[in-house]
Symmetry: C2
Subunit: 497 residues, 2 copies
């Protein structure tokens, strides 16, 4: 059965129903599942697990690469399965449970999770559930549309359940580059020297005796939810293209820039789309998620190579790309997120990292995660992995939200994910602030003059000037520093109209 997909005959006997496989998951286990930015997640087993838990309650610690699609986090939350969840999520039902204190969420740099597992600093993975397109004759795992943490989960877990997803094309085989850093104290350099360096194997090498169940599934990845560019995101892209042009003119970048990383989501995708009509050529990406814009750039002849950890596409782009996947395959690689996001490689290659801010402050500190300092949105994801070691750490956001009730530029951020030390460039649709080499008071000037929405500029100026009058390297008036956020919580607006 499915001999093109399960090529080690001895494993044929392991094929079972999703319900039976879910039965192998016991209360209290730590389970590592595939899935990164809604791509390549195990689908049938977590769904069956949620169904089972409705009858027989159980709770687990669930680790993934990053976010799951197909409403799986919602189903698992509603069934009460999640005691602990790491390192990232994007589901509104789960988010509410996290903010209610019902699910313990551990928000981690995406490059960190398997390092902590390998060092036994967090609880070990008892069981891994990994979506694959095939199992090789050696019993090794050929992953699907994401690598994420799947390879390390499968290697470190005592038992592995494989979901063979027939909706994932076999052409994906050969796309992956699975490399696991050697153990300390004899770890060697990670030998990625360029975006296109391949350093590992095409499949995850595990002992096939660990495979305790194989489930056949046929459910596609959820399509990406990014919105098309609008006037504001186009303006952000235009400011950034102008900035890059100037960097080229000044001799700090060449016309092929440096390897690009773009965070998940509408704004970062739109910024990458903005490069389609730019003068830059022979671009490369060393990123975590490859979105529609990656393929737009290939089609426009702008992009030479893209390295990522997953592919998350809209339905339309997915159909286009997979109608002739071999057109792109030789210019793509998917890596473990530990490698796509590894500080060593990011610093070596000199990445241009473009990530989305929830809000940033006068001095360039960035909040990526917490609404009013308290409520989790999604998680820090890979933004910290990239920003800290990037050649250019760029954060983008629209200057206002909720029709102007919220300014994305505030006196003091209510939560810090990226400190001023790690932020080079801030961009809103209003303009771009280049913070490199500036002291805090100079940064504030650049940010107020370039990034703030006009309706908040006077108020921010007033705060800054009053704070400067009181002195300090990073002038603040503590009694007023979080006032805009308190106002928002209490009145629904940061400032009275």
């Amino acid at each position: 059965m499915y001999r093109d997909r399960i090529r080690l005959d001895a494993l044929q006997s392991k094929v079972m129903s999703a319900a039976d496989a879910a039965g192998l998951i016991k209360d209290g286990m730590t389970v590592g599942m595939s899935g990164f930015t809604r791509a390549g997640e195990a689908k049938a087993v977590p769904h069956a697990l949620a169904e089972r838990a409705k009858q027989t309650p159980l709770q687990i610690t669930l680790m993934t690469g990053a976010s799951l699609g197909n409403d799986l986090d919602k189903q698992l939350t509603e069934a009460g399965v999640l005691a602990r969840r790491m390192p990232f999520q994007v589901d509104s039902t789960l988010r509410k449970a996290i903010n209610d204190g019902k699910v313990m969420f551990i928000d981690q740099h995406l490059s960190d999770t398997v390092e902590q597992l390998r060092n036994r600093q967090i609880k070990p993975v008892d069981l891994a559930v990994i979506e694959c397109v095939a199992i090789t004759e050696e019993g090794h795992l050929v992953l699907s549309t994401s690598v994420g943490n799947s390879a390390s989960f499968a290697i470190l877990a005592k038992e592995v359940i494989v979901e063979i997803n027939l909706s994932q094309p076999l052409e994906l085989e050969g796309l992956h580059d699975v490399y696991i850093p050697s153990y300390r104290p004899t770890r060697l350099p990670i030998p990625v020297l360029k975006s296109d360096t391949r350093i590992g194997s095409g499949a995850v090498k595990i002992d096939p005796a660990k495979i305790v169940g194989i489930v056949i599934s046929n459910q596609p990845d959820s399509p990406s939810t990014v919105l098309p560019p609008d006037a504001d995101t186009q303006a952000i892209a235009d400011h950034l293209v102008d900035f890059f042009k100037n960097e080229v003119a000044e001799g700090r970048l060449t016309n092929s820039l440096m390897p690009l990383q773009a965070g998940i989501g509408t704004i970062a995708n739109a910024v990458m789309c903005g490069l389609v009509d730019s003068p830059f050529e022979n671009l490369t990406m060393y990123s975590e998620v490859l979105q529609d814009s990656t393929f737009d750039l290939f089609d426009a002849g702008k992009l030479e190579f893209a390295s990522g950890s997953s592919m998350t596409l809209s339905a339309k782009k997915h159909a286009e790309v997979f109608s002739d996947f071999n057109r792109y395959k030789s210019r793509l690689v998917l890596r473990p997120q530990e490698i796509s996001n590894h500080p060593e490689v990011i610093r070596r290659l000199g990445i241009i990292g473009i990530n989305t801010a929830l809000e940033f402050d006068l001095y360039g500190n960035v909040n990526s995660t917490h609404v009013c300092g308290t409520k989790m949105m999604n998680g820090i994801g890979g933004s910290g992995d990239f920003a800290r070691n990037a050649h250019l750490a760029i954060f983008v956001t629209k200057s206002i939200a909720k029709g102007g009730a919220i300014s994305s530029v505030v006196p003091m951020v209510s939560h810090v994910d990226h400190t001023e030390h790690d932020v080079d460039i801030l961009v809103t649709e209003i303009g771009l602030a280049d913070l490199r080499g500036l002291a805090p008071r100079e940064r504030a000037r650049a940010i107020i003059d370039n990034c703030v929405h006009p309706s908040y500029r006077a108020a921010l100026n007033e705060y800054f000037e009053a704070a400067c009058a009181r002195g300090g390297h990073t002038p603040h008036i503590l009694r007023g520093a979080l006032q805009w956020h308190s106002n928002l919580e209490e009145t629904g607006r940061m400032l009275a109209v």
Copy 2:
């Protein structure tokens, strides 16, 4: 003249007075000077520059490795020489000028400065002033008690002034390992595989034609100002030793731990001293500054090798060490701070990083730099370089300051240098909180129960419980979050007695 110190004859003609050398520094220049943690700074020329500026005002941008000794930052500040200063300082006069907004201070990760210079993201160094013990027959520079940023400053500057310091023993020659990463996009891995790997040259290779002046000086480094261990620092050390013992018992560390890094200062030094009477053996250090404790550990037979970027010793320890330096030399190396603090190497080796916090909050965010969110103390230094990529990121502090008027554990830190994502272990004299794998609400419990001074515990509990009642992943009450700091500013105490 000084032919053992100036071995290239053609350079003999460059010997000049400090005043003449200082005359080569022009108004508006960017000057890179040697000096890291008060070790190996250029001494005669900056002093002469300050004297000259009293007559003929001028202003420069001054970059160093880190802090300078011999009151040089004080002299330069008082003479009005400093327009801009980076990346670190510890001088009270300069600190006041920074906090008054008179000197623009750019507080940077210590591994970052020369990366930004090399990429021309900050203004180039016009002139470098570098303390050396000798100039080789090739005209290359043999540095003294620190490497810091000296090698890159000398390589990147158009002109170089060398201070030959006769008080620095020639035995220092051979101690340094000067390695400069290759330029992107063809940069190679940094081949440090262990603390003792040597990858570079003993001297800084520059074209001797760039040497425009040589000044003979004879002034020693300032002695270190660390205080001896007291009951509180001993308690912190004891908690940490107990923690390490448990890590060994659990099989997460061996009896030689992992390479150790300790920040500058009394508490970190005391913690390292605490290892003298511990059961651990064959220790190694991969740190930035080597303090008295490093040599105490050598003398106790505990330490195999120490890698740093500088040596900063008390007067007594300095006399001991240099009375028989060859006893230690083969077990020491000094590297550029870009390499001692490099994220790539720190992650590869799996450093145990021990740094001092000014304050930390309920959720494990750490403030290393800003009093009440506004006034700069010293700078972030290397703490961020280490904490982000360490095997264990440990922050230590006494639980209270100013006789109890200040709690080092607060509801929300007034400034964030290290986010909760990057902080594993917090230690005060009260106890140790192990935050690994914990969600924010669990961290708060661990911190309140283990680290807070009893006189603040009830108030912190009250804040936390009230915040939890309002909900959120990281519960906060924004109107009260910085109240303790406002109280401190207004009344001199965080809470009324």
